[in-house]
Every structure is written in C-alpha cells, then in structure tokens.
Symmetry: C2
Subunit: 727 residues, 2 copies
C-alpha cells in the first residue's frame, strides 16, 4: 500500500492511541505524524508488538480503585465500597406522620442505602421549613421498604440525608450505559481507599500489575480514588453531575478521622448542603473548605504511595485530570507531594487548555478533540471541522502557556479512514511542535496583570463557572467568555480569593475582575459585608487600579446598596426599593475607547436587569430596555468597567482587551503587537524577537498589524493560520 | 346662541368646574350634561352668580396647611414649617477626615437644613460600609457651608441624615415650576399642624373662611396636613417622588410624642431607611408600621377638628385623595373617625377607580381624565380619544364597585371649545347614571373570592406597586396588570397581609395571589421564613384552595429553595447552586384550559429568569430561552398557577380569569355570563335579572354571549359600547 500523504516535518510530543490488529497502520501513522508515545484507551488494548517499537513510549491507563479485576476482592469487602451522602427529595408533610421514600429517585443499580452503619448515628432527617434537624427519637426506619417514617408537623417539608453505597462505579456505569454494553460485562465495584484492607489491596494490585506489564513506560492513572459527583436517577439517567462534587468521597471512617484532625464533627448536612451539594457556585462554608483540605491531604498521601510504587518499577506516573479526581484538584497545596511526573487532560477550548497548562508538574499533556468515536467518525461527516474549531480555540491559549505534549484518544482505526483528517492533525502536530519550540524558551509579552476574584481563587484556577466539564450551562456561559478570552490574551492572569484581598492586594495586579451572579461564590455575596474587603478594593481602584465587574459584581443587599462597590462601578441595581428616586442619567457615551471596534450589537448573554447609573458622570456605554448593560467610571486615579455578561466571541474578546487597557490606563499600549482586525491576535516574544500572528477565524484576512513600537503594516493571512514574524 | 347639541337624558351625579366670565356657557353645560355640582379648580375662582344657581351644589377647594393667605402667619412662626428627614448622597471617605456636603443635591428653594434643633441630637451620620452610627463626638457641622466633617475610616462610605425645613410647599412648588408661574407669585410656606400655635391658627382660619364663603356647600380639602414625598433636586427637577412617602411628616415634636406613646425612640434612620425612605416596595419595619399608625391617628384627630368646624357651619366636608394625604390613607383604622362626607380622587384606570370606590365613606367621586388643560385641549387635537380610553378602563371597574359621582377638573372654557368632546362626556354622564342606577341597587355576580397577599394587605387596598400615582415604573408594570384586570373582573377581591395568613386564612377566600419581585413587600421576602405562614398557605392549597404566583412569589433563599412555596407551585428558580442537577422537565402542555383563548405570544413584561420545574408532573404552559414563564400544578386537592409577569392587556385579563377559574376548580363556571371574544366582558346582576355586555375595545364586535345557564347567542356590539340585557 503506497499512497501520497503528508509527512510530519518534526517529531515527538505527540501521543496517539492504538489497538489490536492495527500494527502496520500504526507504524505508518508514527511516521506521518511524528508520534513518540502510544496509549491504550477505554475499550482498547495495545498488542505487545506495538509496545516493542523502538523509542516509543508506551502509556497504559490504570483504573486505581475499580475494575473487573478488582471485583472479586471488592465482593468480599462489601462494607469497603465507596459511599455517598445523598438527600431524598423534599417531602411535604400533610399530617403528623410522614413517610419519606428517600431511595425512590435514585438508580438502584448504582446506589444502595448503607444500613451497616447505624442510620440513627449517621443520617439526618431535616425539617426544611425550619432548617432544624429532627431528633432521632422522632423517626423510624423501615429498611425493607427504604422508608423513613417521621413524626412531622403538618405542611412542613422534610428531607432524609442517608449514607449510601455506590455499588457500581459511576464512570464505568456512565460508559456502560452510554455505549450500551451488554449484560455480560460485570459492573465495576468501586472501593474506598479509606479502609486499610482496601488500601493495601490497591497497592499490592498495582505492584503486581507493574510486574505483569514490563513494557509499559508510563502509568496513566484514571485517576485516583474518588469519583466526582455523578449520580443517576431511577430511570438510569444523569441526576446530578458536578465536576467539583465531593458527595462520593464520604464514609463514617472519614467523618471520624476528620473530627480527630479538625476538632469538630462534620454533619451530613455539611456534605449535602440543602441538596446543593456544595456546588462550586455556592459560597463555600468553613466546614466544606476544611473537608476539601482534609480529603486533598488524605488522597495525596494515598496517591503518593501508588506513585512511589510506579517509580520503584522505574516507570513514570501521570494522572488524567477528570474522573475520580476528588482530592487531587491540582492547584491545592498537597498536589505536589504526590510526586507525579505529569498530568493529561481533555482540551475543549482555551480555558481547558490553561486549566492543564497552568498545573505545576513536569509534564502537561492535552488530549484534543474530537475523540475517535463513531459519533464523529462516520461516513459523510468531516471531522476536520471539529478539530479545526478545537485547535483554533486552544492554540491562542497554547502560545501563552504551552503544554508539553498533545494527544488523542479513542479508536485510531476509525480516524485512519479519514485521510484529510490525518493530514490535518499532521499539520497541527507540526504547528504545535513549532509553537512549543519557541514558547518554551521564553515568556510572551503581557500588557497587564489581571486577577479574577472569587471565593475559590488560586484553589480553582481557570475553573470558575464550570459545572460538568465542557457542558453549556445557562448560568455559566455569560461569564465563561471572560476566562476563555483571557486564556489567549496578552495578559498575565491570576486567580485570587477574598482572603487575598483582605490580606492586602498583590501589588503586581493591575486589574481585578469580579464576575458572577449575585450570592454565588463567583461574585462573593456575604463576603462583601466585610469592611476590610471593600476598603481594600476601593483603595486599590482609588489609587489607580482597574476594576471590571460582570453580571452582579459585589452584589449583596445591605446599607442602601445592592452592588457594594456601586461607588466604584458608578452603577447599582434597582430592586424596587428606590424606584421613587428619579433616574436621569441615561445619556450614552458614543465613540468610547472600549467599544471602538464593535460594529454590531454586543452579545451580553443572560442580561442582568435594572442596572442604573448612580451619578451623572458614569459613562454609559450601552442603554436599552430602560437599563444599563455596559458602563465605565472614573474613581480617584482608577477606573472601572461594568458589563452585564460576556459570552465568548472574538468581538467580546476584543471588548474585554480594550476594557482592560482602559481601566489600567494602558490605552497607549493597545496598538503594539496588535491587529486592527479583531479576528487576529498577536502574541510576542520580545526576547526572541519573534511574534505570532494568529488568525482565529476560518476566513482569509488582510489587515494592519502593529509591531512593538506601533508601526503598522498590512499583512494577509489564510484562514486559521498562524504566522511567525521575525523582528 | 342656539346650536344643535346632545342633551343629557338623565340628571345629577356630575361635577363640572367653572370659572369667571363663563356664566352663560355654564348654564348651557348644566343643561346639556345634567350637572348638579360646580367646583373651582387650581387657578380658577367661581363667581358668585354661578354659586346662586338654584339647586346647584358648590364645591370649594380648601388648602389646609398652606396658601398665600397663610404665609404671613407662617413667616412669623418659621420653626413651625413642615420638616423632612433627608439623607445626603453616599460619600466615600478617602482619608480619615471626610467632608460631606449633605445639602448639595437638594433644591435650595424647597429645602433648608434645620439648625434650630440641635443636629447632634436629631441628626445621624452613618457609616454605610458597616451600617453603624458614627458617634456624635466624631463629626462636626459647618452650618455656614452646610458641611459635616466626619472622622472617617478610609474607604468607608458615609451618609448624613439631616432634619430639614420644607420652606416651599411641594405641591405649590410643583405647580409653580410645571406651569412656569412668574416671580410675582410668592411661595406657599407649608405649616406643621404638630405645633399648637399652627394647629389653632389652621382651625381659626377655616372657621373664618367658612364665615366668608356662605355660598359654599361642600369644602373639598386638598387634602390635610402632610404632603407625600415630593423632593426636588438642585436643578429644580423631581428627585424623589413617592405617593406613599412619609419623609415630609416628621419633626422633633413628632419624635418626642411617638416615644411617649410607643415607649421607644424612633431613629432618623427609621425614616430615611438607607435612602429607600420606606418605599412601598420595602418590607415595612415594625418602626415604620408604628410610625404610620402614629401619624394616621394624629392626622385623623386633627382632621376631625376641621371637619367638625365645616359641619358646624352646616356644610359638607370631602377630601381629595392625593396631595397632602399622609395620615389619611383611607384604608387605615382611624380614617372613619374623621367624619368626612366623602372623598374625591383622580381616576386613571380601573385600579384607581376601585382605589376610590372601595373607600368606606358616604360619597365617592371620581375625577376623570383628561384634565381640562392646554396640554390636551389645543387646536387639532381630539380629546375624545383620551376620554374614551380612560372611560373604557374605568367603566369595567365601575360596574363592579360604583362611584357615587363623577366629575372633571381644569378650565371648563377650554373644553367648551370642543363640541364633540362635550357631546361625548354628555353620553358618558348618561351611561354613568344608568350604570349607577342599576349597580347601586345590587351586588354583581362573582365567581370566586381572590385575595392579594403582600405586606400591606387591606391597609393599602388596590394600591400595590404604585410609586407615583399614574406613572409607569419598570418594576411595577408587570404586576399592575393583575390589579387592573381584577378591577373589572367578576371576582370578589380582598387584600390580605402575612399576619392575616398566620392568624388563619379567611374561609371565604378561594384563591390567593402572591406577586412581586423577590425581597419586596409584594412577594414578602423574609416573611416566608415564618413556618406558620407557609404551613397555612400549603394547607390552604392542599385542602382545595387556589394559589397564583406572579414573578418571584414566596421568594426567600433558604433551606434549599428560592421559592419557599416551590412544592405548591411546582417550580423553583435556579440561582446557580443546583445547575449540577439535571432538569428534564421541559415538556409543554398544549391545549390547557388556562391558555385556550390566547392566540398570540403572551406578554410577560419583565421576565424572571431561570424558573424550572421541580418535578415531572408540573404542567408547563410556556417554556422558552431554557426557562419556564408559565406553569400550573396540582397540590393535594388544590391547584396553583405561576406566571412570570402579567402586564395589563385584554388578553392577560382573560388569561388571569381563566387561571382563577382553573385553580379554584371552577372551569364549569367560565361560560356563564361570558363572551367568547376576550375584548368583551359580562357583568351580571342576578337579583335584578340584568347583565351588562361591555365592549372594552374600540372595535365593533360580533360574538357569542352566554347567559346564566351557559346558553349562548350571537350578539353584535359597537366599539366601546355597553349594552344592558334583561333576562
């Protein structure tokens, strides 16, 4: 078989999946693409002949705390299965005896109430009308029918928080149901490393696995011990999915150990949190923060033992950022202690790229989309389109903070049937290696340091507003444009929390962004009742700093304000209380620096209603439907910018860049390393005397480009291309 | 002068303004329209010859506590002028000494700081960052420059609440500025009846006035002592206007008397309320409720003394509902004690008609629009259009709860120049007298008793969401369709407050409506933290009652719910916290009873975002932009209906009527006394065996009409007509 194909100009930094009966094609692809690592995937197995290819790194996925091969141990240690705290539905009492079928809405194949630990000790029945815990003497449990019978006050609502076994590993369950695997495949039973027997077993098992897999170079943990919240409902459909959810990490043993370490007892309610399960949108309680810390420390210690075993066998250990990653949120303080050699994560866009590339670990690898699955690779479809879109979004982030490697997943044999696709990813591989060779040598030029302020700060870098990784959410998309825009912008980006501000704002910060819906962890809610916080923020701006508020920044109804920083922003929200105060200031400032490039209507996403100007000299940049959606304000020597929402688009990226320049008084810096056409970004490496012109659109463009001194010249660039210019 | 004109078929119940040099025309109009009362207006004076017309009632307007003729007394008693508590703008401290120019934003012709009472005793400087009062030792007053110098914490915000004289009566000021009266007219100085000298003077003055005006039959007080909040800004424009505002009723004497009666001291903050000034949208504090009660009692006592004087002279006393009406909100418990013979108020629509016609007083008169002023009565304009619109809106309310009289105001000589207009109001006068003759004999048939539940209840009947009488407000219009629709609907309407519900729901109520933005007095906010409240509401519905929620009903974030009655409504609001919970229930129920007549898109007004169904069997009636705007739910034997907003329209009126029938299980009652065409309403008087067919549109219509048993027949009706049918 000889055919014309593109051959990579460069080699390495690329991981491809392979599979059985695909040896010749694998060899061909290695050459065409410059592959230096081969991996298996869920549902594939690498044959030994592939592993024997000279100079090839072999990645082997490793399921730490579940797997068919661990089921026999698990079935002999059924009290060591992983556990949840789960809440029943709200049940309204209509008399003074109420039956609560707490188990009813859950998927019986996944969840089973834990009756091994005394429910009277470990469960909670809560009157959700008063918020009070019902005394254990006032309820009885019918274990046979999974009913709690409670002495109720008529027309109060009640919930039962129950301890439950996860009897089917959630990821296995998800893949099984999604791919319609047959009944011949047994359910993976998830084990809890908290139990010494299990912990020892998992270590021994890994050791044995390594003995049996000498050709493996790299163990790719997927991931460690506790799966993020992934709970199915009675119909076997997703009920609750939270990439940051800790529901599936609890056990009485963990509660006991927690009390020993922290000196107080966790309550079931600290985990179920009124049924919100400590969503990342919730302003975290002290208890939940402590619990995260506690689990992170424990998981890190246990993970380190596994990594040590891998190292003992002379192999490398990397982890996949995603499944079963509770306790290894990689921006936590114990993560480094694990001693991992790298991380690999799924890259959907700029944010997810930087989510990975910002992790402090020796090797960062991005697994790109599309996954080689039949949902994309079917006859008549052109998978190049998705790949191009994915690459364009990721690339602008990549030039700012690079990955060390890229890779793919799925069935290679499927993708192989699309030669255009193979050609395109060969081109991307070269482009990536080109970028890496430059970007890894030097830091790109930045204009300003921008800090995103929320309850999570550096603990969840690049992660604000994410619920289930990669999914669109109505209450997220109007904010995620901020991080997505910043992912590829010529700005240094920091993530800070309210404590950081209270302790004194880092002097390197030029601009602070507070963005989110009212009373969420992203805007901060009651944090703004803290005088020190608002003092420091106001002082920061007054003395020359920039402040950008998106949505409902600093929102907390108190002391005559909804936006506690209304004085900084120049706007507040009419909640009804002050309609009697006439609102005269509705004059729109035309031709403002911030909006200069915007020709069409601005996409604000989900509008925040009833914003009005609190004073005459607030610069209103957009006013419609009797409310402000965009404004700028002078505050002492500083400036602020308000916008209702900022979904991701190239227009909004430019808008945000201009807003940052404006509030940081760097208007003069705008037209340096800059393109007039907002579809183009420029990323400069002054030390290397090089800059990249990046076309973020599919259109061929001609535009003025500005060099480091602001000298412009016209250039042309093909759709989706990246050009390096030497100065 | 003989010309063809329409002559009224009936006589009486009609008040017209007249003026000097208009005698013959007045006589003509009396005959044409069937006038039985003549009044003067602002800016006009009745000549004696008109007062002498046989059988004619003469109304004389009377300004109680201001007027050019009272200025000489006032200028000798300058510490007895009316007073305000007013708040400065928020001032951000940027160092530890901050100057607050508290007087700056106010209109110097209207407001003057009161330095006669010790500011250290009667003013408050408040740190609006902490909410704490600044100790009087930490601020100094510069009376010359009207500056408070405060020892400040840098980057806290401060306000000064100061006691101020109102040196120009607000209504006089408003008319003066609006009509551009010249400098030759002296400013009316407002007097405070709280001071014994003034009180005595006002009584003596009235007595003398009555002596001098023997031909007056009816004294029309406009109104009593304290003007609602009407504060102008430094440019002489409206700054703060609140028809329910009590800012202009305060004085140190009132504060002292209050403490004596209520056993605790009011604070200035109890009046200025963070700058919200106890807007009717604010959930009223105990202090403010007490203050309303205190002022109502005081004003009633003082007003009674004036009314007694009028009666002593053998004349009648009526009051205008509006200007200077603080303390005489006519639904209060002391109102009856005044002994008034009637009220007169301005009718803009159905709500304002019932606002007047629901007052318990012997005579209710509505002053209709347009006012005979040059802004409407100019060459080329057709004032019949405005009159027709006003009449159609008011009429449907009139047939349900009648006024005793109607009238007009302004310059009669102006209106006289528009013969078509005179003809139309002659027709209206007959139609009104027709309606009155029937409606005053019997109660119209109603389908159900509907109670509007909010913080004000029966204390402010028909008044929810009103800020400045008759003006459009962004946060009001989406709710005012409810009261406007009900004003002319075949329902008994009650207004209840949260105490009424806690004390046990009146068994005559079929349907409870809770409607308003979150955390306002209209939805109730923290009231919903009270278990008794939610218990009683749930029980009411569970046992068969109906519940209608509009906007953000029962909204109060606590215990895992935003809508505390989410279980009743079947819907709740996603505030971000539970996005991780999948939301499957988006199936729209087609062909529902409630929406059957709605052909076009429904106008929801200001949408409340992110409403979702909490369970599978909630009936979703409208779903767009990934959220619910309309839903119905079964709850025990009862039902609920949710809608995002309900601005007034004929379509929304029909929608609400259907919703009421639905939630009260009275679907079978719908097509009795009913018209298929939603532009037509039917109002029946079964005891009289009569019903009215009311065309609320300007179109000639043909439709099916249903009688008391549901038998239908086709009828035709001209645009804007009302037809009486005899059974």
């Amino acid at each position: 078989m000889t055919k014309e194909y593109r051959k990579a100009k460069t080699h390495g930094r690329l991981t491809l999946p392979s599979e059985e009966n695909f040896y010749d094609e694998t060899l061909e692809l290695i050459e065409r693409l410059g592959v230096d690592a081969i991996r298996d995937s869920d549902g594939t197995k690498l044959p030994d002949e592939i592993k024997d290819i000279e100079g090839m790194q072999v990645y082997t996925k490793y399921l730490t705390a579940r797997g068919r091969d661990k089921n026999s141990f698990a079935s002999m240690h059924l009290t060591e299965m992983s556990r949840f705290y789960l809440m029943s539905e709200f049940t309204t009492a209509t008399s003074n005896k109420t039956e609560i079928y707490f188990y009813e809405e859950y998927y019986k194949e996944q969840i089973k109430p834990d009756y091994d630990y005394n429910p009277k000790e470990w469960w909670e029945v809560i009157d959700r009308t008063t918020g009070e815990v019902v005394d254990t003497s006032k309820w009885e449990l019918d274990k046979e029918n999974h009913i709690v019978m409670v002495d109720s006050i008529p027309f109060h609502e009640y919930t039962v928080t129950f301890l439950a076994y996860g009897i089917w590993d959630p990821v296995h369950m998800y893949n099984y149901i999604t791919n319609d695997w047959g009944p011949e495949i047994p359910h993976d039973i998830p084990l809890d490393v908290r139990y010494p027997n299990t912990s020892q077993f998992l270590e021994d098992f890994l050791d044995e696995f390594l003995n049996n897999n000498p050709k493996t170079d790299v163990i790719r943990f997927t991931t460690f011990f506790y799966q993020f919240s992934l709970v199915f409902n009675k119909h076997g459909l997703e009920k609750h999915v939270d990439w940051f959810g800790y529901t599936n990490s609890i056990s009485p043993e963990a509660m006991i150990a927690f009390e020993k370490e922290y000196g107080y007892k966790l309550r079931p309610e600290d985990i179920v949190d009124q049924g919100y399960y400590n969503s990342t949108f919730r302003i975290p309680s002290k208890q939940f923060r402590d619990y995260i810390d506690f689990q992170a420390r424990f998981v890190s210690q246990k993970a380190k033992r596994l990594v040590d075993i891998v190292h003992k066998h002379g192999k490398k250990a990397i982890m996949f950022l995603g499944d079963h990653w509770i306790g290894v949120e990689p921006w936590g303080k114990y993560f480094k202690d694990i001693g991992l050699d790298g991380v690999v994560g799924s890259v959907g866009d700029g944010v997810t790229l930087r989510l990975i590339s910002s992790i402090d670990t020796p090797m960062k690898e991005g697994r790109f989309l599309p996954y080689f699955f039949p949902d994309t690779f079917y006859e008549g479809n052109n998978p190049v389109i998705e790949r191009k879109d994915n690459w364009i979004k990721a690339r602008r982030a990549l030039v700012r903070q690079p990955l060390d490697r890229i890779g793919y997943g799925g069935y290679m044999s499927l993708a192989y049937k699309f030669p255009n696709f193979i050609d395109y990813i060969s081109k991307v591989a070269d482009e990536f290696r080109d970028i890496h060779s430059i970007v890894s040598q030097s830091q790109p030029k930045t204009v300003a340091t921008v800090a995103i302020l929320n309850s999570w700060g550096s603990q969840r870098k690049w992660a604000p507003w994410i619920v289930a990784h990669g999914k669109w959410y109505k209450l997220s998309y109007s904010y995620m444009g901020i991080t997505e825009a910043l992912a590829g912008m010529d700005m240094d980006v920091k993530f800070i929390d309210f404590e950081d501000v209270k302790n004194g704002i880092d002097p390197s910060i030029d601009v602070i962004i507070n963005a989110g819906d009212a009373y969420t962890a992203f805007s901060g809610g009651e944090e703004f009742a803290n005088p020190k916080l608002v003092e420091n923020l106001r002082k920061f701006v007054y003395e020359g700093g920039g402040f950008i508020g998106v949505g409902e920044p600093s929102a907390y109804q108190a002391n005559g304000r909804f936006f506690q920083l209304a004085d900084v922003l120049g706007v507040d929200v009419e909640k009804g209380y002050s309609q009697s105060n006439n609102k005269y200031f509705t004059h729109v400032t035309k031709g403002h620096f911030i909006t200069e490039d915007i020709k069409d209507e601005i996409e604000f996403g989900e509008i925040k209603p009833n914003v009005y100007s609190i004073k005459e000299d607030t610069q209103i940049l957009e006013y419609s439907n009797n409310e402000i959606h965009m404004a700028a304000n002078e505050y002492g020597k500083g400036r602020s910018f308000y916008i209702s929402g900022l979904p991701y688009s190239l227009e909004n990226t430019r808008l945000l860049k201009r807003a940052i320049h404006y509030v940081s008084h760097k208007e003069d810096e705008l037209k340096k390393y800059y393109a007039d056409d907002l579809r183009i970004e420029v990323c400069a490496f002054p030390k290397l005397k090089k800059y990249a012109i990046i076309n973020n659109s599919l259109d061929d463009l001609t535009t003025n480009i500005y060099d480091k001194d602001g000298n412009k010249k016209e250039i042309s660039i093909n759709g989706a291309d990246l050009i390096w210019i030497k100065e």
